[in-house]
């Protein structure tokens, strides 16, 4: 489970040279999951494991789970709805946050 760190305010002495970011992919520490107002719910029975949702998700918020099916990583999902729109078997529904 990733830790979500707040943006640090570095001192001059703590800055890497030329303000380079030395750790690749550390955006994983920033959760974008709180952006959304709707979230996808994947019906595992309907899911055929075609992986289109995983291919298209702009936020790599679709992860492979057991049985070759897919589920959503709610830490990053922005609720865009591309997965629901593109699913060929309509296994994904967008549900309002706050509903269950």
């Amino acid at each position: 489970m990733n830790e979500f760190k707040r943006t640090p305010k570095p001192r001059v002495s703590e800055l890497p040279i030329a303000a380079i970011i030395p750790e690749p992919g550390n955006s994983k520490y920033y959760s974008t999951g709180d952006w959304r107002s709707v979230r996808p719910v994947i019906n595992k029975d309907k899911c055929t494991g075609c992986s289109l949702c995983w291919v298209y998700c702009p936020d790599t918020a679709v992860i492979k789970v057991e049985g070759g099916k897919y589920d959503v990583d709610l830490n990053y999902c922005k609720g865009c709805g591309i997965c629901a729109e593109e699913c060929p078997v309509k296994a994904i529904t967008m549900v309002e946050e706050g509903e269950d």
Partner: protein, 388 residues
């Protein structure tokens, strides 16, 4: 050897890895000589014929960020076109070396030498040297690589040389062979953080207001502290090759009451003027600044002790500003001296206009008449060579 060829030879002996340049008079002979070296296999480097100076410096930045030893040359409009990227090259702490063959900025189109181009970019965060002749140009370029690549510095260096006077003129030159240079300047090491898939780093991200100040300060500190390294390297070069350079060089200043302060090519003429004035019993000397950035506060204060007046000679003007750029900076730097000399500014040599011995002598007598109270110069600076 032609001064420009000397600069190119210095880059060759420094075994640069990548050259990216765009031709512009009077830098062209540097770009051309390097092209010949590479074409003949005398220099194993990648030569990028950039399609503009903006792209030339961009390619230098890309190559240097990947860890290569990089060289370029330009001047005038070309330097102005690079302006957007000069702070990036410096803020990214890239040890690029550039020869800037000082050329007048337009308007109007003028290919001859004055300092308006480098002055317009004086805040770009590069280390800046001013060379007086072919020998200095050659030596400063080689030392520039060593200083730039020092771990304590990691900053680009601009070596300025007056266009035509210090590019197309042929002068005697003492050079070293490749082996000797390599002992002083070993091949470049690739920094761990350079662009490399084995250690992915991100350069040039978006910095918000809460971090930009720290980024600027880190860079400013680095440029200021580089003066220590510059002094060290000058000393080492002197002991290895017998040519001793100082950050500030003085000529007949031991008992001087008036100092004539300037940078670059015109220093040669100034020495002749100083000698002529000394013959007449005037207590005058020359203060030559070799290093303009980082600004040599301490060296300048030491050279200015006990002076009644300093005449600062600029080959550029800060239009509508405090006078010549060097004049403005020297005045500001010496403001906190306990006993301030009278500081007056003189603008000459604009657009490559010939600077004569007589010009320095005239300026000296202007200084004298201001000191005696006979005359006042408005805003303390004047154009020395204008027909009004």
């Amino acid at each position: 050897m032609e001064c420009a060829a000397a600069a190119a030879l210095a880059a060759k002996l420094a075994m640069v890895d990548v050259i990216a340049a765009y031709p512009i008079t009077p830098q062209t002979h540097i770009a051309e000589t390097l092209s010949e070296y590479v074409a003949n296999g005398e220099l194993d480097a990648e030569y990028i014929n950039a399609e503009s100076e903006h792209s030339a410096i961009s390619a230098c930045i890309g190559a240097a960020a990947t860890g290569a030893r990089v060289f370029t040359a330009t001047c005038g409009q070309g330097l102005a076109l690079m302006h957007e990227l000069l702070p990036i090259a410096a803020g990214w702490r890239l040890p690029i070396v550039m020869v800037n063959t000082n050329r007048s900025l337009s308007p109007n189109l003028n290919i001859w030498g004055d300092q308006s181009d480098s002055m317009a970019s004086r805040d770009c965060g590069w280390i800046q040297f001013f060379a007086e002749n072919a020998q200095e140009l050659f030596d400063l370029v080689i030392m520039a690589f060593r200083i730039a690549e020092d771990e304590r510095v990691q900053l680009p260096v601009m070596v300025n040389a007056k266009g035509f006077y210090c590019t197309h003129v042929i002068e005697p030159l003492t050079i070293m062979d490749q082996e000797e240079v390599e002992k002083f300047l070993p091949p470049k090491k690739i920094p761990k953080y350079a662009l490399n898939p084995d250690n992915p780093t991100t350069w040039g991200c978006v910095a918000f207001p809460d971090v930009q100040t720290e980024i600027r300060k880190q860079w400013d500190d680095a440029l200021r502290n580089s003066i220590k390294v510059i002094r060290e390297v000058f000393k080492e070069y002197g002991s290895l090759f017998g040519r001793n350079y100082d950050i500030i060089e003085t000529y007949r200043m031991e008992d001087a009451e008036v100092g004539l302060l300037l940078m670059g090519y015109a220093c040669g003429t100034c020495r002749v003027a100083v000698d002529a004035l000394r013959e007449k019993g005037e207590k005058v000397g020359m203060i030559k600044l070799r290093v303009f950035r980082p600004f040599p506060f301490d060296d300048l204060a030491a050279a200015s002790k006990n002076l009644k007046a300093i005449g600062v000679f600029d080959e550029a003007i800060s239009v509508g500003g405090v006078g010549g750029p060097l004049f403005g900076e020297v005045r500001s730097a010496l403001y906190s001296l306990e006993r301030r000399p009278k500081i007056l500014g003189f603008i000459q040599g604009i657009g490559g206009r010939d600077i004569k011995v007589d010009d320095f002598i005239r300026a000296y007598y202007e200084i004298k008449s201001v000191l005696s109270g006979e005359k006042r110069i408005e805003n303390d600076f004047m154009f020395l060579q204008v027909r009004e």
